[in-house]
Subunit: 220 residues, 4 copies
Amino acid sequence: MGIIIINFKAYREGFGKQAIELAKIADEVASRCDEYIAVAVNSLDLAEIVKEVSIDVFSQHVDAIDFGSHTGRINAEMIKDKGAKGSLINHSERRLKLADIEFIVSKMRELELVSVVCTNNVQTTAAAAALNPDYVAVEPPELIGTGIPVSKAEPEIVENSVKAAKNVNRKVKVLCGAGITNNKDYVSALDLGAEGVLLASGIVKAKDRKAALEELVGLR
Amino acid sequence: MGIIIINFKAYREGFGKQAIELAKIADEVASRCDEYIAVAVNSLDLAEIVKEVSIDVFSQHVDAIDFGSHTGRINAEMIKDKGAKGSLINHSERRLKLADIEFIVSKMRELELVSVVCTNNVQTTAAAAALNPDYVAVEPPELIGTGIPVSKAEPEIVENSVKAAKNVNRKVKVLCGAGITNNKDYVSALDLGAEGVLLASGIVKAKDRKAALEELVGLR
Amino acid sequence: MGIIIINFKAYREGFGKQAIELAKIADEVASRCDEYIAVAVNSLDLAEIVKEVSIDVFSQHVDAIDFGSHTGRINAEMIKDKGAKGSLINHSERRLKLADIEFIVSKMRELELVSVVCTNNVQTTAAAAALNPDYVAVEPPELIGTGIPVSKAEPEIVENSVKAAKNVNRKVKVLCGAGITNNKDYVSALDLGAEGVLLASGIVKAKDRKAALEELVGLR
Amino acid sequence: MGIIIINFKAYREGFGKQAIELAKIADEVASRCDEYIAVAVNSLDLAEIVKEVSIDVFSQHVDAIDFGSHTGRINAEMIKDKGAKGSLINHSERRLKLADIEFIVSKMRELELVSVVCTNNVQTTAAAAALNPDYVAVEPPELIGTGIPVSKAEPEIVENSVKAAKNVNRKVKVLCGAGITNNKDYVSALDLGAEGVLLASGIVKAKDRKAALEELVGLR
């Protein structure tokens, strides 16, 4: 069994009604396979999606703040209050300062939220692992959204990221992402030592999203 | 009749159940007075609050993006989809780059959303007015959260902001904020030429929030 | 007579020895034509270039700070101390928050430094003009570095920027940039109402930089 | 023998003529003691100070860029060209994104420049160590500029940072900073396992800077 986190990003197809629809598909597919499937959704959708599905729902981001005078920000306490399981942190489209990543990871650990720190290469994976998050998700930015799977284009990044992360912190689990769209890519990722994958357009923007997800988890 | 926008910020008292409670108070008080009252709420709360109240609900922020690969961001289309009336933009706690403010204001105009650009002094008020938003809300940052009302401490900032804004763009309306807590401050702001006020802690963190809002609008 | 500011950017050809060489070329060409020519150089080169040439030297950026605990920052007082004539502000490759642009422009006015605020379209040009800088330089980002001159591709942006700026503040002067490489582009810019141009790769990365600059100012 | 890096920040007393004066004092004191003394100076001063002193000169910051279209930025190649020995990276007053810290550290290693990554606590020290810089300098932000030495106020941060860094990467050396002003603080830092200190106001803003530095290194 592997881990699959579907990042809805700010895709039109990943927002609002289409987000709920996709979350329900993920929920339904998850009930028929052995994989762990979770969704990372927009903050405007989060509360409603949590109510609609039984799979875990993640936030795509939280800010490095406590409650207070922070107009336009969301913190870890808030997403917990809404029923999120955890959050992506430092996605390549939402990179954060090192001190802020640490602040968020530490706070999420206290709150028993699951932290998934995104990184861009082997070295940053090692660094993120040192912060003791639950997961590090390595995604070479140049492959994101290309459909060229990292597990094929740069397998050594996945392998070396797993080694580097475990070397620093053997408790941390490593996901990989970028270009993952089908079961072959997913299985390759697991074979390379990753515990699962982070993916987005391959599912969110697929013509037949249910079919795409079923294929991903090996139901087709 | 003046305009009152209550910014819930990321206050604990302005989030979740307490946010809904406060929005309902604002809704109820609005029904008993001549003032226009709106609330600016957290993105995680927005969809639910829109459903719970009949007053206008604003977002506290939107990002300068279209739909697309933008993990952890919200755009103007999204808040419109959720039923928001408009958004604060460039609050002093969430300052934006000039080009991004322009992007957001222009897009909100197309989408018929109400834009409230926050500024920190007379010159930036004039600059913001040139972007043709619906409102500019001037708030000297050093007074925010102090309880020292801008309308008393620096009345010339309010007066000169109104003049400067109208000089650049006579259609734009000016709000003022920082330190506003009671009816006297509010009336002073209107007397100085502002069309209304933006306020936060004075209501959100008041012991008796209903009483504080009633006093603000002159019902006590 | 028009104004020509050559932005050396962080081009290899615009740094160190090559920067001094190019600044001297600009100095020499300026002595043989009626145009005002200035150079905007890297902070690491600025002090030395000021000593080497008689034309005006600009910084490419200053931070919105006073003297103090600001590791890794430069302020307006510092560039004045080194002999700079002024600075570019808010270049599309170094965009700033609105409040910071205002802080810098106001401080530069006090210090009698020449401020050149870069903008990306008509609306932001109007907004920048409201801050009362000496110059606004409008550059559509999508044309920067393309060799497609703004004065040809989007002449209405130049014309409308001039109108919009003057409408807000008749003292402000408008430059234009993006894709400008030769005398024809330059003359077109002046014909469209600009007082001059901001350019970079067309000169800095030219094979024969002296010839390119001579051609630009009509000496060839 | 320990390591002392004096960060001139953007203090008025750390810029221009006063910077050169202080660099010369540091140079002279270094010649009379066993400590390694270096200075971290403003980019506008860097080239000149390198020429004036024989001690190592550091930049206070470099941007995560190569040569190219990056107006208002400096890169590692540039500071090397000017004779810098290395650079501070990610100072608490100039915090960087994780991916950018990694980019800079890796590039500086290739260029044989000395990298000093600043961090704010034990966890971020471990993370920075994983990036394989030459030094990590841990400075609790709340003590910076206070005169309350970290080695006294929070000795466990220094000890645990050294342990955490070595655990991740035994080649990395740890400095500490914040509130260090005198020989006692300095010796305490070394006793706690640090290889040296990063300090600023205690020397830069001292009434008698030579005396302050002599005292720091034990010459008084």
